[in-house]
Homo-oligomer: 106 residues x 2
């Protein structure tokens, strides 16, 4: 779903990736990482979609909370495994959201 | 594919959406908008994925090029139609990419 984020400024981590063939326990790891991320101080929400490429955008209160999540031991292990098994290529971009606007039929 | 963007800083427009049922000429419009965006001054690249939600991230040199694209007549018409026919809800976030890093098996 579309993340319900607060009024800017806040931060977005845009993670774009191309997967290798096969699962290699990827789905299980992805679910676990999401569960862990939600518990982090400063986590604001996440959006994810995949077909030819995958895009996951996570939203954070500030750079400090992104840094803390990056240093998380289990997340670091998952990143190492990602480079070895799950991803052919990826790109991570850290961006400061300056403004947002939306639309909802409801 | 993963967009090949220059060294930061540059800008990202993160467009997250939930579609209505049916196509309503959506695919045709989406292709046309991509074709137009690529012609804009300051356009750096785009990444897109959709399953339950759609995420399209376009990258731009600066706020001025984002503004110019927003003012583009055909793009404005498409946005109006998007609110009426194509989207149940969407959120647009304008963010300044401060750093990026990646990985590529090749």
């Amino acid at each position: 779903m579309i993340a319900e984020t607060p009024t800017p400024p806040y931060y977005a981590v845009i993670f774009t990736s191309v997967r290798t063939e096969g699962d290699h326990s990827y789905a299980q790891m992805a679910e676990r990482m999401l569960e862990l991320a939600r518990q982090q101080d400063g986590f604001l929400g996440v959006e994810s979609a995949r077909n030819e490429i995958g895009i996951t955008v996570s939203y954070w209160r500030d750079l400090e909370s992104i840094h803390q999540w990056r240093e998380h031991a289990e997340h670091s292990l998952a990143r190492d495994k990602g480079r070895k098994e799950w991803y052919k290529s990826f790109k991570t971009r850290v961006a400061k959201v300056e403004r947002d606007y939306g639309f909802d039929v409801e």
